[in-house]
């Protein structure tokens, strides 16, 4: 199947939803299980004042779980993908800012920098993290823009309810 036909069929959107949804649920759950750890990591970015920091550390992991669940279920998929995209862009910008600051304060090459960005995957090579986030952004953009594909169970439910 050619790329345009794959996009038009909705299969690409379905696959993107499955991948992005699962990733968001996994990363959100990792942070929700250790909100104090996440709070400390978000603080290292030095971007938020104290009370906003608490709010972000408390709410963001659960938002990721909710967004992941909605993407997997295929409910409000376009809107969820758009919010996920904005969240990913904000996270990625914060990681770039911190990596640039670390790079300027030391002698290490940019792509040899590694730190725990609070992304839920522990300490990582920042260049790899940026590539990963770019991939997730593409998936979110694809779900937002490409034709939707309902999950199989939605079709069965629709068929069952037809007289």
């Amino acid at each position: 199947m050619s790329a345009p036909r794959l996009l038009a069929s909705g299969h690409a959107s379905l696959a993107a939803r499955a991948v992005l949804g699962a990733v968001f649920i996994y990363l959100g759950a990792t942070k929700a299980l250790d909100p104090v750890g996440f709070l400390k990591l978000v603080r290292q970015f030095d971007l938020l004042p104290p009370l906003t920091l608490n709010l972000a550390a408390a709410v963001v992991p659960w938002c990721e779980i909710v967004f992941g669940a909605l993407l997997l279920a295929g409910r409000f998929a376009r809107g969820t993908a758009l919010v996920s995209l904005l969240l990913l862009v904000a996270f990625t910008a914060a990681i770039v800012l911190r990596a640039v600051a670390l790079h300027r304060s030391g002698t290490a090459a940019f792509c040899s920098l590694r730190f725990d960005c609070g992304c839920g995957t522990g300490e990582v090579l920042i260049c790899l993290k940026l590539i990963e986030n770019a991939g997730l952004c593409l998936l979110a953009a694809l779900i937002t823009l490409a034709p939707e594909h309902p999950l199989p169970f939605s079709r069965r439910r629709a068929a069952a309810s037809t007289p």
Binding site: P35, L51, N54, A57, V59, V60, W62, R78, L82, T144
Partner: protein, 208 residues
Amino acid sequence: MSQALLRPTLRQAFVVALAGVAIGLVANALSPRGLSLSRNYFPDTPAFRAAATAAPAATATATAAPAGTNPAATAPARSQRGLPLIGQERATELFRDPRRTEGLILFVDARAPEPYARGHIPGAYPLDHYRLELYVTDLIGVAHLAQEIVVYCHGGECEDSDLAASDLQQLGVPASKFSIYRGGFDEWQRLKLPVETGARGSGARANP
């Protein structure tokens, strides 16, 4: 994206974002691990501020010191918030001091409950800065009675021991009693010094 699709997508995005925040707030409030939204978890401590304001005076003293001496070299190293740092030798010395068994020297473990249960310096009181209310009633009386309080966390750059010491200072325990064991539990365990597992006073030892 067509105009016809743009508006419902934006509306969906707004509703989804609101739902995410609302669910997040409820889940955080219900979760036993939830964060307080109104507490500043990383305050500046009085000791930190005192150390910062005392710096010019220390500089003035340094200029008056006799030639050939370096007061900075003899001054004790300080934590980020101005508390004296001690090394493994001093920590072990205090651990073996008979005053520890009399409650006059206190060890305080500022790590989270899970690593504390896996192993801590025998007799150390737990004090998780982020769940202060669970520990402070057990600790505040003995902290007032103690002559010296050694606080530790994992070691290295962990800030939790500083924050736990700051919590006790805010409850009236004088800053002069505190020191921070710089190497922390990671170093203690690496050196195979005595370790107690489970609850404080459980008697279960991981190392002799």
